[in-house]
């Protein structure tokens, strides 16, 4: 049966970054779990409602042991949302997905607190967010690239604007949390406002893009007004429509 697609509205696909707690277990695992129990006893409810990523890149274990470790953690109310540094053979159905491309952030402080009742610990859960805020602000808000972006390369900078002094080749992609400025021809893909920023814009000296997107709304080369091609263009979002202005 063929489905008739009548709804012309596009689907919004966005990226968003969250701060996860990364656990890097070491061998022997039972001793590490004992130490984790120790920590949990000092700071009850620390892992409750927190996204936890398991970093196994330094851990020489196989699939059954990893599965056992994830189960052991689940027993302790630690729910693993993803596994970092695992070989594809170590993961399978029913296990958390592989994660990569994580950026380091400063260590998360575990505040020692007297064992309290479950409910109080749960109420304290939003507290860590206050620690996250200054970390995000400490990261520089712009990225400047002095070379052309070649086919097959992707420049990803969710924290802010990207400025490229050179061209972006066909088959290359630039993804920014903020705006994208290209002092050259844009022949590849540019995605601005990737973490949900409707005010982000794309600027380029010459528009020959394969695809452009702002805040998840995208436009392919075919859908673009052909009179824009080859011109210096500014692209911005107005509601759910990408607007283009020729710059002089």
């Amino acid at each position: 049966m063929t489905k008739v697609l009548t709804d012309a509205r596009s689907i919004r696909i966005k990226g968003r970054s969250f701060l996860a707690v990364v656990l890097s277990p070491d061998l022997p695992l039972d001793q590490w779990l004992d130490r984790l129990d120790d920590l949990a006893a000092r700071s009850a409810g620390f892992f409750l409602d927190r996204p936890v990523v398991l970093d196994v890149s330094e851990l020489p274990i196989k699939k059954p042991e990893l599965k056992q470790l994830i189960d052991d953690l689940a027993e302790r109310n630690v729910r693993v949302m993803g596994v970092e540094g695992a070989r594809p053979s170590m993961l399978g159905p029913g296990m958390p997905p592989a994660m990569k491309g994580g950026k380091p952030a400063s260590d998360v402080e575990v505040t020692a607190r007297e064992p309290e009742t479950e409910t109080e610990a749960e109420a304290a859960a939003p507290a860590p967010q206050r620690q996250e805020a200054p970390q995000v602000r400490a990261i520089p808000q712009s990225l400047v690239i002095d070379e052309p972006v070649r086919s097959g390369q992707s420049i990803i900078f969710p924290e802010g604007d990207i400025t490229i002094v050179g061209s972006v080749a066909s088959g290359a992609e630039v993804i920014a949390g903020g705006s994208i400025h290209i002092y050259g021809a844009l022949r590849g893909r540019a995605m601005a406002g990737s973490i949900g920023n409707t005010n982000a814009r794309i600027f380029c000296r010459r528009l020959e893009a394969e695809l452009i997107a702002i805040d998840g709304i995208y436009k392919m080369a075919e859908d673009m007004d052909s009179s824009l091609r080859g011109h210096a263009v500014q692209l911005s979002l107005e509601g759910d429509t990408i607007m283009a202005d020729i710059l002089f």
């Binding site: 070379e147 052309p148 070649r150 086919s151 097959g152 390369q153 050179g166 061209s167 080749a169 066909s170 088959g171 290359a172 021809a185 022949r187």
Partner: protein, 271 residues
């Protein structure tokens, strides 16, 4: 110490092997010692283009594995005393190449030769990355056609990230060699123009080799075009490119531009 050049392109069939042989022979005719190395293990062709296919005993993989010494595997060209070929193995594949083995062979070749020219296989996999890994200079062979240009762009990105020079924070010297160029078709819009390709790839131009029957003829004869017919247009263009590689300043001429009124009349009559 000699200079290591990698001749690379990403895309297949654009003229890497032809250009390796032609540049090697052109440099050797300047009385400089040249070794051309075939990295296309499993699909070797440089031996055919050099006319040495019947003299291959040992190959690159043998030297890497220690089955043969480098001087045993090197084949001296019958026409030029200073030109040598290190053939690839036809019965193995790219996995037979190892990082340490390639480093050792290139290091040894650099001691004896002024120029070590590595003919890279097509693609972006192990064979191609190992061929470019130890290079000092890259010659990026491109046809005036969109897919070739995009693949070359990809390769330039890899030259700037995956080579030893790039990893040590140095800049890899890169040159564009535009091959199979036909000025008439470029003017008609069937082909990309020189300026379009240069604008997209933004690396300096080493030379423009005109599309010519002489290239195919020379390949089938088993001779680099710079040896088979030194006066032909492609051979002249390769000689100029070789002089630029050696550091001479030679202005680049776009083939076909020099043709005057007689050339045009003659060209029309011939067609």
């Amino acid at each position: 110490m000699g200079k290591v050049i990698v001749v690379t392109s990403g895309k297949g069939g654009v003229g890497k092997t032809t250009s390796t042989a032609a540049l090697g022979a052109a440099l050797a005719q300047r009385n400089e010692k040249v070794a051309v190395v075939d990295f296309d293990v499993g699909l070797r062709n440089l031996d055919l283009v050099m006319g040495a296919e019947r003299r291959v005993v040992y190959d690159l993989v043998n030297v890497i594995n220690g089955d043969a010494k480098l001087p045993q595997a090197l084949i001296r060209d019958k026409r030029l005393d200073t030109l040598f070929l290190l053939p690839a193995s036809q019965t193995r594949d790219k996995d037979a190449l190892t990082e340490e083995g390639v480093e050792r062979v290139i290091g040894e070749l650099k001691k004896y030769f002024d120029w070590v020219i590595c003919d890279s296989p097509a693609g972006i996999e192990k064979g191609a990355t190992l061929a470019m890994r130890h290079a000092d200079v890259a010659v990026v062979v491109t046809n005036p056609e969109v897919s070739s240009v995009r693949d070359s762009d990809r390769i330039i990105g890899m030259l700037d990230s995956k080579t030893l020079k790039a990893e040590n924070g140095e800049r890899m010297e890169k040159h564009l060699l535009l091959t199979r160029y036909d000025s008439v078709r470029a003017e008609r819009g069937d082909m990309l123009k020189v300026d379009d390709v240069l604008e997209i790839l933004s690396i300096p131009l080493l030379g423009i080799i005109p599309e010519s029957m002489d290239v195919l003829k020379a390949s089938n004869l088993g001779a680099p075009v710079t040896l088979a017919d030194a006066r032909s247009a492609p051979a002249q263009a390769y000689f100029e490119a070789a002089r630029r590689l050696a550091g001479e300043v030679v202005p680049v001429t776009v083939p076909g531009d020099k043709r005057g009124i007689f050339g045009k009349l003659f060209g029309r009559k011939a067609a």
